[in-house]
Amino acid sequence: MTPFTYSCPKTIEEAIVAAESGPDVRFIGGGTNLIDLMKMGVEHPRRIIDLNKLPLKMIEEHNGGLRIGALVSNTDAANHPLVRSRYPVLSQAILAGATQQLRNKATMGGNLLQRTRCYYFYDPSFEECNKRRPGSGCAAIKGYNRIHAILGASDQCIAVQPSDMCVALLALDAVVQVDGPPRSIPMRDFHRLPGSTPQIDTNLQPGQLITAIDLPPIPYGRRSVYIKVRDRNSFAFALVSVATVLDTRPDGVIRKAHIALGGVAMKPWRATKAEQLLAGKKPDENTLRAAAGAELQPAKGYRDNAFKIELAKRCIIRSVQSALRAG
């Protein structure tokens, strides 16, 4: 670990000013990802700005929806009565992640920015990793890639964004509120696919502070479900996950489907093709299979992860079927 200095500002302004001091600055929320990466030698910040004294721990009604402060713990967000009643899919997704101890510590802002679990990224003694060392190559493409992407990858990087929470946030059309300067970033634009710049995970600029996450009002938000397929039932990242929210007519026809996949790409993946194919239809087996198939049509498997393609299709199908029974 490289030595660093530490400060703990009390106001958003102070935090933003402190962050302007250079590229080697990192905010710290729960520290459950950052400290790990520092210990592994992936991150080498010289200055740490602790956000825990900032007044960003609120969960409140906002424009008919909810505003969740960036410093709210994952546990508190998942257990909040308004989240549980209006956006159960978010609660389920958060609780499907990590462990109780980690969720007690992890913050909403930190969860949005958690980095990939690609083995070759996480351990800097692997030489090739374009995300960690641009231009060095991608060891995963040639190596062991069971947990890697099947959608939206590039020949530079095939990592996945590992967050469960983000999958639900995307399905719920959440908006990330940022300061320094103030900006709103819709979830669908927050994370980036690798393309030729795999080193950049998100569209947040260095030094910008996440202040809150806004959830728009979704009257049918209870008709939703989060499904996570993983090797072990706790303390394991998703192989594939899916968050589905359905607006249905009394006759069972889907008016609008929100479907987001996790574990498949470097961003939570909105299944827009599947959503289009389901809109206005009764979700029988064939319709579902066709919708899921269309969404995964561009998918590309690598040596160890091709199973994810079929798994993702089945996740979509099961999630719609389950969501229809929910709420």
Binding site: T2, N104, Y119, S125, K142, V229, R232
Partner: protein, 802 residues
């Protein structure tokens, strides 16, 4: 006081551990200790071209950068045998003795600094350049290069064995099965990483605080490496956070800590970091096992064979002896087993949690199930049909074998007879339900061991034996044995272990500590008791003078004449009168004739129910039952915890554990506990203790035999197993693990065998059948481990706030 042995006494060290007061190797407070960290190789084979440590040396607080260029030369680190001599059992270590890189993650630099932080920072700045050479780490593609070793397994069995005529046996059969099973690399991953503090008390005297399963073998090896007298090396290891075999041998880091301390002339502490634990500390080799079973229509096995291939390293030899259990577990007149080794550029594989038996019973029991399926026979019936009444390989009687009772009790508790034969015939909505069973077996070992018992003038009673407590409960069981054998309450015993100043004991490996050191403690305490009584009855000034020795009882710190409590005195009074500061007895316990007369194993039967999500392939183990005939149980609670541990590890092995090798780089990639998944408590659910305390006893105390039948339970208790719900409509949660144990008393005066089991659950096998016969799941059976998504036990627990 009669029945302390066997009682479910709470762990004596439990409170110390949960309050953080048990001091583990790295935590000993040694004044002036410097901190060392390792830098390990990032290539699998080649040479170190250069090491640039200038930047590292500039980090404030750095004291030493140790490389092959300034390392102290060790004596015979590779442990090559002198001509005409057998090699000692120690592992070859490389410890910076040359510039060769033999495997990835081999220690190549040691950085020592005033603080851990400085050492870490400096270590990250060391620049190593290599001249790489092509490496080989694949097993499957290099089977033709394999060689046959001489011996296999901890008991030194021959690597190849044949009896009868395999070909004839195959041709006599109606059904023949040949199937290849593979198991992946696995890494021990004990909670406590390996750690050593080395203190040179004088130029020729060394003290090591070491996380080791064998203080005496540690002492011997380190003494030989540094050319010291063994008695000048002291090893201290009072607590261990697990080891699973990986802390048995001395690995490079121990020598490196001592080397750094010598160089700096001050104490040095060194802990191996989690990612560094993948390679240099032993691991379980991948295995490829080809099983052959031939059987008649009625289920009689006519031939049985296992050909195993596994890795060894380029600089040492280790055999993952998984074929051995196929020699003795079933009656098979024609039998052929062989071990072959492929030399790979990996750290030397080593003993890991039931070495040999764990992967071996998996493959054997999987093949047995496949054969049962082909025969359309119940898998348990098939096993009973081929039950071995004596050891078919050694042609000897078993020291004890209650396996048929284990089968019967386990089957009853589990509800096995309701199992339909047809795979995939039990469903709960989208969930397929599978029931499987398998046999457990592990050899019963025992080595020479010593202990001393001492009664002090103040009446306190203490017992010492070198030995180690891996977390298995050694402190507790030895206390119980000492208390009962001497005649005091457990609270009055002070049992000490983990120090080479105490009497010599064997390594805590191969499940031999309870039997070996337990026997020594028993004999020492008994000898002391006899000495004390003798002293009293022959002391004219004692109220007990002239009483016959058999009629003296010890109770509550006093000696009494049986039937005449007025004839009595305290221990203190007796010792004071004799002017003795203490009274001591020593004993050594060694394996006797039983080794030659009997074939000795612990047996068991395990039953599992798994639920497989038909769409996702996710696997849950919803309940398991295990029944074990493991000899005399010294503590019902700690033994049960061992059984549970064995079953839980079995599930972990079947469903999760897999050190993923990137063959291109020759490196393990999932080198952390987030990605190397093993079972954890949060997914292990609760356990049911059904009928545990139901004590069974043998009808005879003569030499144990398979025919020694169980007689009536001593304290019959209603079974607490909840009534069984037929699976077709089973939506309720099932009890999870339950274990029970058959108490047997093997031989008078000898505490045998160790309360420890292992068997891989046949969940694996059932899953295999499930997947093999499940067309819409596109996960191939061969890759079940790595590609099937699995999950276990219970849903996410309710969220809570800390």
């Amino acid at each position: 006081m009669e029945n302390i042995i066997g009682e479910p006494l709470d762990r004596i060290d439990g409170r110390l551990k949960v309050t953080g007061r048990a001091v583990y190797a790295y935590e000993h407070k040694i004044p002036n200790a410097a901190t060392a960290v390792l830098v390990t190789s990032t290539i699998a084979k080649g040479r170190i071209a250069s090491i640039d440590s200038k930047a590292a040396g500039r980090v404030p607080g750095v004291l030493l950068v140790l490389t092959w260029e300034n390392a102290i030369k060790l004596n015979n680190p590779l442990n090559t045998a002198a001509p005409g001599h057998e090699r000692s059992p120690a592992r070859a270590i490389t410890a910076l003795q040359d510039n060769l890189v033999r495997y990835a993650n081999e220690p190549i630099v040691v950085v020592v600094a005033e603080s851990f932080e400085s050492a870490e920072q400096a270590a990250s700045l060391v620049e190593v350049r290599y001249t790489p050479e092509p490496h080989h780490v694949n097993l499957e593609s290099r089977l033709s290069e394999a060689y046959t070793p001489k011996k296999a397994g901890g008991g030194g069995d021959p690597a190849v064995s044949k009896r009868g005529d395999m070909n004839a046996g195959m041709s006599q059969a109606d059904l023949r099965l040949e199937q290849t099973y593979s198991t992946p690399f696995e890494v021990h991953n004990p909670m406590e990483p390996h750690a050593t503090i080395a203190v040179w008390d004088a130029p020729d005297r060394l003290t090591l605080y070491d996380a080791t399963q064998g203080i005496f073998s540690d002492r011997g090896r380190v003494a030989s490496l540094f050319g010291l007298k063994p008695e000048n090396v002291r090893v201290i290891s009072p607590y261990l956070g697990g080891g699973f075999g990986s802390k048995g041998p001395v690995w490079s880091h121990v020598a490196l800590a001592a080397m750094a301390a010598k160089k700096l002339n001050r104490p040095v502490k060194l802990a191996v970091k989690r990612p560094q634990m993948f390679g240099m500390l032993g691991l379980r080799s991948q295995t490829r096992q080809t099983l052959r079973i031939a059987a008649r229509r009625d289920g009689t096995i006519t031939a049985l064979g296992n050909d195993t291939w596994s890795h060894t390293s380029s600089f040492d030899e280790f055999v993952e002896a998984s074929s051995l259990c196929a020699r003795m577990l079933y009656q098979s007149p024609n039998n052929s087993t062989a071990q072959r080794l492929v030399v790979s550029d990996i750290g030397t594989p080593s003993y890991m949690r039931a070495p040999g038996e764990a992967p071996g019973t998996y493959a054997l029991e999987a093949a047995m199930d496949e054969m049962a399926y082909a025969l359309k026979m119940d898998p348990l019936e098939f096993r009973l049909k081929n039950y071995a009444e004596t050891d078919p390989e050694e042609n000897k009687p078993w020291s004890s074998k209650s396996l048929s009772d284990c089968y019967r009790m386990g089957a009853e508790r589990f509800g096995w007879r309701r199992r339909p034969l047809e795979p995939r015939s039990m469903r709960d909505g989208n969930t397929l339900i599978g029931w499987g069973m398998a046999t457990s077996v592990y050899p019963t070992r025992r080595s020479v061991s010593n202990a001393s018992a001492r009664l002090n003038a103040d009446g306190t009673f203490s017992v010492d034996a070198g030995t180690q407590d891996l977390g298995t409960g050694t402190y507790t069981i030895m206390t119980q044995v000492a208390a009962q054998s001497f005649g005091v309450e457990p609270q009055q015993v002070k049992f000490r272990l983990g120090d080479t100043e105490f009497p010599q004991t064997p390594v805590s490996g191969g499940s031999q500590t309870a039997a070996s050191t337990g026997s020594a403690v028993h004999l020492a305490a008994q000898a002391l008791r006899e000495k004390l009584i003798q002293m009293a009855v022959s002391d004219p000034a004692s109220p007990l003078s002239g009483v016959s020795a058999q009629d003296v009882v010890l109770e509550a710190g006093r000696l009494y004449a049986r039937g005449n409590p007025s004839k009595s005195e305290t221990f203190q009074q007796l010792l004071a009168r004799q002017r003795l500061p203490y009274l001591e007895a020593k004993a050594d316990a060694r394996p006797g004739e039983e080794k030659n007369q009997y074939s000795m194993y612990a047996f068991g039967a395990q039953f599992a129910e798994v639920r497989v999500d038909a769409d996702f392939g996710q696997i849950r183990v919803s309940r398991m039952t295990g029944c074990f005939g493991a000899g005399k149980i010294l503590n019902a609670k700690t033994a049960r915890s061992q059984f549970m541990g064995g079953m839980i590890w079995g599930i972990g092995m079947a469903l999760y554990e897999h050190a993923a090798m990137d063959a291109r780089l020759g490196r393990f990639v999932n080198n952390n506990l987030a990605e190397y998944q093993s079972r954890q408590i949060s997914t292990s659910g609760t356990s049911k203790q059904s009928g545990w305390m139901k004590k069974m006893t043998t009808s005879t105390r003569s030499a144990p035999r398979a025919s020694a039948k169980l007689v009536s339970p001593v304290q019959p208790q209603p079974s607490r197993t909840p009534s069984f719900t037929p699976p077709a409509n089973a939506s309720a949660t099932f009890p999870l693990l339950s274990t029970s144990c058959l108490h047997k008393v093997p031989e008078p005066g000898i505490l045998l065998p160790a309360p420890r089991l292992f068997a891989l659950s046949s969940a694996t096998e059932w899953l295999k059948l499930t997947f093999a016969r499940y067309p819409s799941a596109r996960f191939s059976t061969a890759r079940l481990r790595s590609s099937a998504a699995t999950s276990c036990f219970g849903s996410e627990s309710r969220p809570f706030r800390s």
